[in-house]
């Protein structure tokens, strides 16, 4: 049909570039990500897909953009319902913002259902809305303890005996006596990997179901007092750089004076790629301590959920490919082998031919097999939600609260009360 408006567009059409259809009949899928390694991962997955499905070839065009840039563009594209890529990586912290447009995303619940029994549910929940799963997780990001086995043995401590935070504290006291310049661990001041774990172990979160910040709680006071006691006993310092995953933090660990690093499982790749040789064959991966037996040993932290745009080129094919790449056993094998992440599909966790191969760089780096730390706690992995109020809460915690209580020594109750007020006043 002739349109008047089209006349105005003639000029822009002349200036525009004609799109060329793919020659081999492969379906062209576009994808955005903000992590360069993911680009490589998906391009390789597409090759495997084409080998496995010669009748339905795809051609994936992955673009890596900056973190803010990509998420902002995606939000705008979803809002306009135009220009969004077929497949897109979304960072956990940004997921609530993208879920606001869930009507424009493909519900992956059905596609994931064949694997549901093996998937870590906690990981799917954070990418869910109204019981429907919209994001395909990349990894669990389970919190684990990296223990310097030799250093602890010098103090006569067997890392396997550390079951509770009290055991951990006692081990630290013994370590300090045996090796005075060593530290049992670190106290984070710019983020809350450990604090989130300790909160989740007590069954609470940073916010309630109505998205009210819950900071001034006895549970959080317990978390702070526990870590304060580590500082007071002199078994820990506040972490240089604010947390282990910074240049300073990693340099600190590389000095071989830190007996335990409590971080998500993906911190393994920081050991192999960045901390390097000085810590090789020293650390062993083990479950985290708990306050009391029976509490959750771990929570998943950090991560990326991949979404499918419902009005894209071929959403069904894109979804099928996504499941193939990130959820099905053969796909997640690559997640472990290439990226060193703990895949969400636990079906392969027990498969020694995948997880315990000796030519794997992670298995070579650590004492024993890292996956052994996760297998026993498979069903005890919880989660901390990322919601629209999270940025405000995290911001206050990372800049002010931890510094007040751990560096300046402000009274816990006083600091928590101030924190609750400040965060509430910032949630306008």
């Amino acid at each position: 049909m002739k349109r008047l408006f089209a006349m105005l567009l003639v000029l822009s059409m002349l200036l525009g570039v004609a799109t060329v259809a793919s020659a081999e009949g492969a379906t062209k899928l576009t994808m955005w990500t903000f992590i360069a390694q993911h680009q490589e991962f998906f391009e390789k997955a597409a090759e495997r897909w084409n080998a496995a499905n010669p009748d339905r070839p795809i051609e994936i065009e992955v673009t890596t953009l900056g973190y803010d840039d990509m998420h902002n563009k995606l939000k705008v594209a979803l809002q306009a319902d135009e220009g969004a890529p077929d497949i897109c990586d979304v960072e956990l912290g940004q997921f609530p913002n993208v879920l606001a447009y869930s009507d424009k995303l493909v519900d992956l619940t059905e596609a994931m259902s064949p694997y549901m029994a093996d998937l870590v549910k906690a990981r799917l929940e954070i990418y869910a809305k109204d019981g429907k799963y919209y994001g395909a997780p990349l990894h669990v990001g389970a919190m684990v303890s990296f223990y310097d086995k030799g250093l602890l043995e010098e103090a006569g401590v067997n890392y396997e005996d550390i079951k509770t935070w009290d055991d951990w504290y006692d081990a630290g006291v013994k370590l300090k006596e045996a090796v005075p310049d060593a530290w049992m661990g670190t106290v984070e001041t710019s983020t809350q990997w450990v604090a989130s774990l300790m909160l989740a172990q007590q069954g609470v979160d940073w916010q309630d179901d109505d998205l009210n910040a819950t900071i001034n709680t006895p549970e959080l006071a317990k978390v702070i007092d526990t870590q304060k006691s580590w500082l007071e006993a002199g078994i820990c310092e506040t972490c240089p750089g604010g947390q282990p995953d910074t240049e300073e933090g990693k340099a600190y660990i590389a000095n071989n004076k830190i007996a335990s690093v409590i971080m998500p499982f993906w911190f393994m790749s920081r050991f192999t790629d960045e901390i390097g040789e000085s810590c090789k064959d020293r650390y062993v991966v083990a479950p985290c301590p708990v306050f009391e037996e029976g509490q959750m040993h771990s929570i998943g932290q950090g991560g990326t959920g991949t979404v499918i745009y419902a009005n894209g080129t071929n959403p069904d094919l894109a979804a099928e490919f996504l499941i193939f790449a990130k959820i099905a056993p053969e796909g997640v094998q690559q997640i472990w082998e290439v990226l060193g992440f703990d895949p969400c599909n636990t079906a392969i966790w027990d498969d020694d031919s995948i997880m315990k191969t000796d030519d794997n760089k992670f298995n070579q780096y650590f004492i024993g097999y890292p996956i052994d730390a996760l297998i026993p706690i498979k069903d005890e992995i919880g989660y901390i939600r990322s919601t629209s109020v999270s940025p405000t809460i995290n911001n206050y915690l990372g800049t002010t609260l931890w510094n007040e209580v751990y560096v300046d020594g402000v009274d816990t109750a006083e600091a928590l009360e101030e924190a609750q007020d400040a965060i509430e006043s910032d949630l306008f």
């Binding site: 006349m7 447009y101 750089g241 240049e247 911001n395 560096v407 910032d426």
Partner: protein, 393 residues
């Protein structure tokens, strides 16, 4: 006589210019609105099918879409003619007053016209929209007018006070350092007594070429709290204990100011050297004859004659100090610093505008407050230094 006559003629034709500009603006506006008209026609056609019912005053019964197209084209042509007529009137005005082409008062405006037009096109709209958004709650779902709510929240927010305080302290410190020291260094490198002045100039200028991102990361490592970090090693030389530089207010500010000093000294030296070169050498020769020493020459000749340069440096330093963001972002490895020691006004704006959801309206208010604040300080400064407001003798 001639001048008066020319002036009269120019004034006579002035109405042509005014009407020409008005017609031109009208024509452009009409052309732009064609798009809306096209969309409305299309929508009407979609809704009614038969257009004669809808456009009964313009179309005869039974006429179809192609008639509508013709109508639209006719209107478009008319509007194009109006625009061209406006343009023609302006051209005629210029042709009647050909001396305008050589007018030294008008020429500058013609030369800056490309920039001004670009500026008006791409900056005025965002600026106006920022003002509007600062009174709105801007969400993905649409904007909602909330009056002064954003400003009320802003001025009551503790972090905003911290940000303003940090930015002001940083601005004052950088101005206090980056005005006298580069001036002295420029004078020294320009002095005939200095050997290899070119080497010093280059050395001082190299940091300017260095990316602030690279510099910021290196400063972060220098000011690390690890015992082996450079600044802690320096403390060690004096027998002092290592400290956590970036976890204290003064240490953080010191790192940021030092980075600024390191980076911009060379640039400011360059401005001053240009200023020094513009001072006639006769003045110095005369001073030599009168038996002045170097210090007297500096204070009595160089310093007063460098005042315009110093005012320029001060003006850009004030603006740069108030709008600092990248340095702090890189030194602290992100927008969050311990107890917000490194939070600046722009960092505060970034936090709400980009790191949080649906706070664009609030961030707009922050931006406007920064704009107004910077403008007041700059105008006061220019007034105090005599650039504006005071009549020349």
């Amino acid at each position: 006589m001639q001048a008066v006559k020319r002036k009269k003629k120019g004034r006579r034709a002035l109405f042509l210019l005014i009407i020409g500009v008005l017609v031109l603006v009208l024509g452009i506006a009409a052309l732009v609105s064609l798009q809306g008209k096209a969309l409305r026609y299309d929508a009407a056609y979609d809704e009614h099918g038969d257009l004669s019912a809808f456009f009964f005053d313009q179309l005869e019964e039974g006429q179809s879409y192609s008639a509508l197209q013709n109508l639209w084209l006719t209107i478009a042509r008319q509007r194009l003619w109006i625009t061209l007529a406006g343009l023609a009137m302006i051209v005629i005005y210029v042709a009647l007053n050909r001396e305008l082409l050589y007018d030294t008062k008008i020429a500058p405006f013609v030369f800056i016209a490309p920039f001004v037009i670009t500026f008006l096109l791409f900056f005025t709209y965002p600026l106006i929209n920022t003002i509007l958004m600062s009174f709105q709650k801007v969400t993905g779902a649409g904007n909602e007018w909330i009056g002064l709510e954003n400003y009320k929240n802003l001025f009551g927010n503790k972090n905003f006070h911290t940000a303003v305080k940090n930015s002001l302290i940083y601005m004052v410190l950088t101005c206090a350092i980056l005005i006298p020291i580069p001036m002295l260094l420029a004078y020294m490198t320009e002095s005939k007594l200095t050997k290899m002045g070119g080497v010093f100039k280059s050395v001082a200028y190299v940091p300017v070429l260095c990316s602030v991102v690279v510099a910021g990361i290196i400063f972060r490592m220098m000011f690390s709290e690890l015992d082996g970090a450079m600044m802690n090693e320096v403390r060690g030389l004096f027998g002092m204990e290592p400290i956590a530089w970036l976890k204290s207010a003064s240490g953080s500010m010191f790192a940021m100011v030092l980075l600024c000093f390191w980076r911009w000294t060379g640039m400011n030296m360059l401005y001053y050297m240009a200023g020094l070169k513009a001072i006639p050498s006769e003045l110095y020769e005369a001073a030599d004859l009168d038996g002045c020493n170097s210090w007297q020459k500096f204070t009595k000749i160089s310093l007063p004659l460098l005042k315009p340069t110093a005012i320029y440096v001060l003006t850009i330093s004030i603006y740069a100090g108030l709008s600092m963001f990248t340095e702090s972002y890189m030194i602290f490895g992100g927008n969050n610093s311990p107890k917000n020691y490194g939070l600046t006004i722009v960092g505060y704006l970034y936090r709400y505008g980009f790191e949080q959801v649906d706070r664009f309206g609030f961030a707009s208010a922050v931006g406007l407050v920064l704009l107004v604040g910077a403008m007041i300080i700059t105008v006061l400064q220019l007034w105090a230094t005599g650039v504006i407001g005071k009549k020349e003798d």
